[in-house]
């Protein structure tokens, strides 16, 4: 079966930052969360996938097509939602349909209008008059209108209220319903991923920290807690990231290391905690 995304040893070098040997794949019909702290390389990865940046090395295949050689074919079948809209502020919603639609061979204007109606958008309203949530919905409507097979979202929920975020996650679940469409969702708001992601790819400081199922990711780490004197130097070496207080500490460990922390209190780690602690410790799970 062809994967929706197949990335192998992707590298991009800048003077002050390098994305190194990123490899991950997303099977069709699933949602993958792309996570990591600011500056980790998430947007760079997405821009490389869209061929907006030139890769230094590696291969990117989207739905079996090469990201460079077949870029026009790929762009026909992907949709994107960014943190800010990418239309001219003075265009009306109707003009977005008219102007963007001509670029896609399978653009369905009727479907666009149906989506716009469903989202409660006004066709005659200018893009700049729409709220952030509405602008996000407009980008989603465009992706739905050309029957995108892969939806790429780069921080789409930043600045959105919980209601708008909930609507988006519902839309994404609906999007992948037929099992043929997939979503790559880069976000800081990991509670959105808790709800809908099947896979997680975690990039930290330009390096791949984890890629795999969300359940394995969450089950793979534990939070260990205790007093200052409860932890030995040997145990501290096993901790991926640690936060120390005057009275004690809490740290992130691999679930496989739990036997080394016998008497200490261990609990499940959230995606947020995994991101925070790994960026504190910065240790790679390789």
């Amino acid at each position: 079966m062809i994967n929706a995304i197949e990335i192998n040893n992707l590298c991009k070098k800048y003077d002050s930052f390098a994305l190194e040997n990123i490899s991950f794949s997303l099977p069709k019909g699933y949602i993958m969360g792309l996570i990591g702290p600011n500056g980790a390389g998430k947007t760079t990865t997405i821009k490389l996938m869209l061929n907006m940046l030139k890769k230094t090395a590696g291969d990117i295949k989207i739905l079996g097509l090469d990201s460079v050689a077949d870029q026009n074919k790929i762009k026909e079948i992907i949709g994107a939602v960014f943190d800010a809209n990418y239309f001219v502020q003075d265009w009306t919603v109707k003009e977005v349909d008219k102007t963007i639609g001509i670029f896609y061979s399978n653009w369905d204007s009727e479907k666009f209008k149906t989506m716009i109606q469903r989202f409660g958008l006004d066709l005659n309203k200018k893009v700049k008059e729409l709220s952030r949530g509405m602008q996000m919905k407009l980008m989603v409507a465009c992706a739905f209108s050309h029957d995108a097979k892969l939806l790429i979202l780069d921080e789409p929920t930043s600045g959105l209220d919980p209601v708008a975020r909930d609507e988006l996650t519902d839309l994404l679940s609906e999007f992948i319903e037929d099992g043929e469409k997939s979503v790559l969702f880069s976000t800081h708001i990991t509670s959105d991923l808790d709800k809908i992601a099947d896979y997680i790819t975690f990039i930290s400081n330009g390096n791949l920290f984890y890629t795999g199922t969300k359940d394995e990711f969450v089950d793979g780490f534990k939070i260990v807690k205790g007093g200052n004197k409860d932890i030995t130097a040997e145990q501290e070496k096993k901790i991926i990231g640690i936060r120390k207080y005057s009275t004690g500490f809490e740290g992130l460990i691999k679930s496989s290391d739990i036997r080394n922390f016998g008497k200490l209190e261990c609990e499940a780690a959230s995606i947020d905690e995994i991101i925070v602690f790994t960026s504190k410790g910065g240790k790679d799970n390789e």
């Binding site: 821009k47 061929n51 907006m52 870029q71 990418y86 003009e95 001509i102």
Partner: protein
């Protein structure tokens, strides 16, 4: 529909907020037409003014951060550049047509007789001036954008000054054949020469811009 035509339509949509400025600019040249009382300097002046608007599409794209949109559309970078050139050329031809009509009206009102040769020479000079200036401007705008590259927007001032300073008195009746190549003494031949010059200038400029834009990361 070819990608270039689609991109021309996109550029047309980008310029929508600027339509009123184009109209103002076109009608602002009318008093100059009365002043020049000759079609050639009037058209050279007007087309230089119009050439100064070639940064508008870059300006809208920059203001609205459209690089992401360009990066998402199923078109190549070469097509994006070619579409911009095609659109700029269309603006030039439409502007020349309007300027010729306006000049004919103004000169008729001013009771100045005008020959077909003068009209052809006016069109020819307008084409050369517009295509020369925009061929210089566009690579600079692709390289630096409309803000950093705004210096390129002022290149057509050369044409405005030339029209004002030296061409004021040029009339076809005052000039005798002066080109060593006999064919160029025909206004028809000059018009063809102007169009060919425009094509060559745009060909060179387009190649440079495509190389610049291809190296850019969006």
């Amino acid at each position: 529909m070819s990608n270039i035509i689609k991109l021309v339509q996109l550029d047309k949509a980008l310029l929508k907020p600027y339509y009123k400025y184009f109209l103002v600019m076109i009608f602002a040249t009318v008093p100059m037409m009365f002043g020049f009382k000759a079609i050639i300097p009037s058209i050279v002046f007007a087309m230089s003014m119009i050439a100064m608007t070639s940064n508008y599409t870059f300006s809208v794209a920059e203001k609205n951060d459209l690089n992401r949109l360009y990066g998402l559309l199923p078109v190549s970078k070469k097509d994006i550049v070619a579409g911009r050139y095609f659109f700029t050329a269309i603006i030039g031809f439409v502007a020349i047509a309007i300027m010729v009509v306006l000049n004919l009206i103004v000169l008729t009102i001013a009771k100045v007789t005008i020959t077909n040769e003068e009209v052809l020479l006016g069109i020819g000079s307008g084409i050369i001036v517009y295509f020369l200036f925009t061929a210089i401007q566009l690579p600079g705008l692709f390289k630096f954008g409309s803000l950093k590259g705004r210096l390129f927007s002022f290149v057509p001032f050369i044409g405005i000054f030339s029209a004002s300073a030296s061409l004021n008195s040029i009339r076809i009746s005052d000039t005798s054949p002066s080109f060593s190549l006999e064919i160029l003494n025909s206004p028809y031949a000059l018009l063809i020469f102007a169009v060919l010059t425009g094509v060559v200038l745009y060909g060179i400029s387009l190649g440079i811009s495509q190389k610049i834009y291809d190296k850019m990361e969006l």
